[in-house]
Symmetry: C2
Subunit: 229 residues, 2 copies
C-alpha cells in the first residue's frame, strides 16, 4: 500500500480531530501576526500578555507525555501535526497544504505574512530554505521511499516578496540509498525566486523494509524514521 | 562607524522599548508550545480559542502602517524585531541571541522545543537551514559588508536533537561583490549535526556606499538592503 493511500474511515476520524484544532491554531497564527503588526500602546500590550498567560495555564493543565512527533505511530498523519511547515497544530507553520502524487511531485500554494519577513518586504531567506526542505522531503516521501535530508542547496535568484507564493518539488532520480530531488519557489508574478537541490538518505532500517516490500514479502506498516531511540 | 557600534542612549531607549514587548512575545511563544504539547479536552480547546480571539481583536485595534521591516530606518535594530529567527517581537523566532564581532564571527546558544520538531525528537531539517542562514548572514553583516544570501548549502551530518543547541558562523573570505561564510550547529553533547556554506551578495547600492566609505568619504548611515521599491 502506498503511504498516500488511506481509507475513508481514517480520513473522517482525522478530519474530525483536525477540525477541533484548526480554529485554535488559526487564532494563534493571527496572534503571532498581531505581535509583529500591532501599534497599540504599552498598557494594551501588558493586558494582552496577562490574558495570554491565562490561556497558556489553561492549555497546560494536561500535557502529552512526549512530543507530538513521538506520540503517534509511524504512518499516523497526526505525527506531522507539529511540523513547523505543514503542521495543523503548529502556529509556527504557515501552514502549507501540500498536494502530491506517487510519481514524486509535490506542490503547494500558500501565503506568508509579516511573521516571515527578513529584508524589508521580503521573505527571510531561511524561511525560503525551510519551506523548500519540507517540499523536497514531501516529494521524496510520496514515492514510498522517504529519507532524511542529507544535503540541501538553495540558490536565491531574487528576493521572495511576502504574500501569495507557490512551491513545487519533484524527484529527479533514485539510487539504492539516495534520492535526488529539486524544487523552487515562485512569486505571485510567476518569477522563480529560489531553486533547491536536495539529496535524501534512506535510513538503514527503512531500507531493509523497502527491500522486503519490493521482494513481495508481507511487511508491517512503514517503520519510523526516528534515529535516536 | 561600524554597524555594531551604538551609543549608550540608543541602547537604553531600545532596551526600554524591548522590555515592553518581551513578556507578551514570551507568553505567545509559550502558547505556541502549548498548542503542540497540550492534552486538554475539546471544550478547553474551544474556550482557549475564544479567549485568544479576544486578544487578537485587542491588538488589532491599532496597526502599523506597514510591516515592521519597513517601519524603521536602515540601521535601526527595531527593524530586525520581526525577524523569524532573532526577532524580539516575533513569536515564531526561538529567538536566537547572537553574539558577534567585526572580524565576522557569530555564535549563539539557544533552545528549540516541540514547535520545531521534524522527525520524532529531532529538529526539522528546514529549521536547521533557517537558523544557519541567519547565523551566516549575521557573521557577514558584522564585517560591515552585509549581503543577501546568494547560495546556501547545508550538509546534515546526523539528526539535531530538540533541546539546548549552539550555532556558530564565520566569514571565510571576501571578494569585491561576494562574501563566503561557513557555519555549523552543535548539539548539547558537542556533536556537529549540520554544516553550512554560504555565498552572500552585496547589492549594488550598498556596494557603492561601501566603496565611498573605503575612500574615506563622509557617508550617510548604511543604506537599506531593500531591493523592491
Amino acid at each position: 500500500m502506498s503511504p498516500l493511500a488511506f481509507g475513508p474511515e481514517q480520513d473522517e476520524a482525522l478530519e474530525r480531530d483536525a477540525a477541533t484544532w484548526r480554529p485554535l491554531v488559526s487564532s494563534v497564527r493571527d496572534l503571532v501576526d498581531a505581535c509583529v503588526t500591532t501599534a497599540v500602546d504599552d498598557d494594551e500590550v501588558r493586558t494582552a500578555q496577562e490574558e495570554i498567560e491565562a490561556v497558556v495555564a489553561r492549555l497546560r493543565r494536561k500535557r502529552l507525555p512526549e512530543t507530538l512527533g513521538r506520540s503517534y505511530d509511524p504512518g499516523d498523519r497526526r505525527r506531522a501535526w507539529s511540523n513547523p511547515v505543514i503542521g495543523v497544530r503548529n502556529p509556527v507553520a504557515p501552514p502549507l497544504v501540500v498536494r502530491r502524487d506517487a510519481a514524486g511531485r509535490a506542490e503547494s500554494d500558500f501565503h506568508l505574512g509579516s511573521a516571515y519577513e527578513g529584508p524589508p518586504g521580503l521573505v527571510h531567506g531561511g524561511v525560503v530554505s525551510m519551506i523548500l526542505d519540507q517540499m523536497l522531503g514531501q516529494a521524496v516521501g510520496a514515492t514510498g521511499r522517504p529519507g532524511m535530508t542529507g544535503t540541501l542547496t538553495i540558490v536565491y535568484r531574487t528576493g521572495t516578496p511576502l504574500g501569495d507564493l507557490r512551491a513545487e518539488a519533484w524527484v529527479e532520480r533514485h539510487e539504492p540509498i539516495k534520492t535526488f530531488a529539486k524544487g523552487r519557489v515562485i512569486g505571485a508574478d510567476g518569477v522563480v525566486t529560489a531553486e533547491a537541490d536536495g539529496v535524501f538518505i534512506l535510513p538503514r532500517h527503512v531500507r531493509e523494509w523497502v527491500a522486503a516490500k519490493e521482494r513481495g514479502e508481507d511487511v508491517p506498516p512503514m517503520p519510523s524514521l526516528r534515529i535516536f531511540d
